[in-house]
Assembly symmetry: C2
Homo-oligomer: 140 residues x 2
């Protein structure tokens, strides 16, 4: 399988994307995922297992008697957020049959977020037409 | 189907993502897609048809005798670039069995691009922990 096929096999299904999106919003506990997403418990169990096995989430104890665990994004899982947020927003804007009911905003001020590319050398934001692919010198 | 299911049905397959990524890089002609991607002609034909039917690309004549067409991203297709670029980069960094051979850079200066979220009110870049979902007032 190519890299993009492996990536899609891991995160390219509806429930996995919705579980990750809920985790980005700060949801961590099994019952909270169920209530927030309206997802069945067996489906949620399977998706959380897959995400933990792939290293995108980790099980962290939050209570010892009786033992209880919550699910936290790892750095690898958090690194997916620009992709998931962009895909979900594009879908809401372009593929929805009903207007979206939620907007994603910058929490401190409430302004709808924007996405794009950033160059730290030039300190500018830019769009896709200013992207170039170059051979990785480390591999040359 | 939910919105995210419709979105994945349209763009959640390997070749569609690779065709879009090539188009972001400025590839527009059938033979150039074939050469760049090593994609079979029937698969490429099917993917381009799907993308044109969905309004992500459009067929534009570039020669009249004989008639020849190239494939250009529409604004709807271009709007997918943050999602596709983020997904492919995350895969290259986290799911690849071999080091990636290409880096995506800011064309004018060659610095590797960064992605994140931007607030135009505060004029700051921010990460996923500063995102909040709010009910859309227009739908209330």
């Amino acid at each position: 399988m190519s890299t993009i096929e492996r990536t899609l096999a891991l995160v390219g299904d509806r429930w996995t994307i919705l579980v990750l999106r809920a985790a980005f919003r700060g949801i961590h506990r099994f019952d909270d995922f169920c209530a927030d997403l309206g997802i069945g418990r067996p489906i949620l169990t399977a998706r959380l297992r897959k995400l933990v096995a792939a290293g995108l989430m980790e099980r962290v104890p939050y209570q010892h008697h009786p033992p209880r665990y919550e699910y936290r994004l790892t750095p690898k899982g958090t690194a997916l957020s620009p992709a998931i947020v962009a895909l979900v927003r594009w879908g809401d804007e372009n593929m929805s049959t009903t207007p979206p009911t939620t907007r994603l905003v910058h929490a401190p001020c409430g302004t709808e977020l924007e996405q794009g590319f950033w160059c730290k050398t030039c300190a500018v934001r830019f769009g896709p037409t200013a992207i170039r692919g170059v051979p990785d010198a480390a591999q040359a």
